[in-house]
């Protein structure tokens, strides 16, 4: 319990700053969450552990795209746990008919973390190849060359605003593509 309180105290401020638009806090939050998600999914999935990393990525994308559903007046860890458990159930359901995932305290997610990335079944880079050229090249500029969205926009001759919209839409599209891929 105490450990979970500490996790809450560490993560909630990061989430609040992320919602204010602080990308450093957002990155840090996703890194920490990713490690806990990896540990949680590995413990719950057992034999199907080959899909752990896929599920970590899918869940991080969901945390990112759905973060505006977090109510700032409530604790953060139950929000993250409910989302992680939903992604796990959704993933398992698409594989087999009946599944049981115990409804636990949020501490189940934050019991142990695992920093070691596992192997992937679905390569997001491969999915991204299906995007239209403009969107794909924007993502490559940002991801591979480490450009800021503004720099990438400038390079490709679009406004920063439309580059931001393009990036956000691509991520939403990616979220759907992952589900279709695994469905």
């Amino acid at each position: 319990m105490l450990q979970q309180d500490q996790t809450e105290e560490r993560l909630r401020p990061l989430m609040l700053r992320s919602l204010e638009g602080d990308s450093g806090a957002h990155r840090q939050l996703l890194e920490i969450l990713g490690r806990y998600l990896r540990g949680y999914f590995a413990r719950r999935m057992g034999a199907a552990a080959a899909e752990v990393e896929d599920l970590v990525q899918e869940t991080l994308l969901a945390v990112h795209l759905k973060r505006d559903t977090y109510d700032r007046s409530l604790p953060f860890t139950p929000w993250a746990y409910a989302l992680a458990r939903y992604k796990l159930i959704d993933h398992l359901r698409r594989r087999s008919r009946s599944i049981q995932v115990p409804l636990e305290d949020a501490g189940a997610l934050f019991a142990a973390d695992d920093p070691e990335e596992g192997a992937l079944r679905t390569d997001l880079d491969r999915l991204l190849q299906r995007l239209p050229h403009r969107q794909r090249s924007l993502i490559e500029d940002v991801k591979l060359q480490g450009l800021s969205v503004e720099e990438a926009a400038h390079k490709r001759g679009v406004t920063a605003v439309s580059a931001r919209v393009m990036l956000h839409r691509s991520l939403k599209w990616l979220n759907q593509a992952i589900r279709d891929e695994n469905g």
Partner: protein, 212 residues
């Protein structure tokens, strides 16, 4: 793509977000769906002459009953539309409201002479009351489902159940403006039946419609 690269990519897509998105979207859905249902009631079924109705306190009993249920339903939907929130006391409150209505209806039946009880219970419209409420709930349910999908329900069946309940309670509230019945026993039975059916169907449909 490595997870670290994905995180890097996501960190480039961070902007300040305004709080209250769940409230805004759900209210917009209730307004849009409610407007469609109200239009159907007003243009197709026709409202009772409201000035005359205003003189009859029992006319408003059914409106008050379903309006209270709507509040409880919307509160449940709000909780279940996003991850991690507890459902809270709203379903208990809804159950108590229904029980109170049952008690009111039963009391009314018992205080009526046996010969008049059946007529009181069935009114003039018992056959169409529940199906109409179910039908009128559809536009509101559809709008609610679209709004909830855009949020993040982590218990889709429960969220669908709450959406079916809230949609039909609001539909019944609007239908009550048309409905000529004034017996508590009638409302306790046929209104509640329509809402119960929509609640069950809403849960079944929600299981599929609300996975994202």
């Amino acid at each position: 793509m490595r997870t670290a690269d994905l995180i890097e990519l996501l960190a480039h897509d961070v902007r300040a977000t305004a709080p209250g998105v769940a409230n805004r979207r759900l209210l917009a859905a209730l307004a849009a769906g409610g407007l469609v249902t109200f239009a159907v009631v007003a243009l197709w079924l026709r409202c009772q002459p409201l000035l005359a109705a205003a003189q009859q306190p029992w006319f408003w009993m059914k409106t008050a009953y379903t309006a209270l249920l709507t509040v409880a339903g919307v509160a449940s939907v709000r909780r279940l539309a996003v991850p991690g929130a507890k459902v809270g006391a709203a379903p208990v409150a809804a159950a108590l409201i229904v029980l109170a209505m049952f008690a009111l209806g039963a009391g009314q039946i018992l205080s009526t002479a046996p010969a008049g009880r059946l007529a009181l219970w069935l009114g003039q419209s018992w056959k169409i009351c529940s199906p109409l409420i179910l039908l009128l709930a559809l536009p509101i349910y559809a709008c609610l489902v679209m709004a909830i999908r855009g949020l993040a329900p982590t218990r889709p069946a429960l969220a669908g159940t709450a959406a079916g309940f809230a949609a039909s309670a609001l539909a019944a509230t609007l239908y009550s403006l048309h409905c000529p019945e004034q017996a508590a026993a009638f409302v306790a039975t046929w209104y509640t039946l329509g809402i119960a059916a929509a609640t069950v169907l809403g849960g079944i449909a929600g299981r599929r419609l609300l996975s994202w």
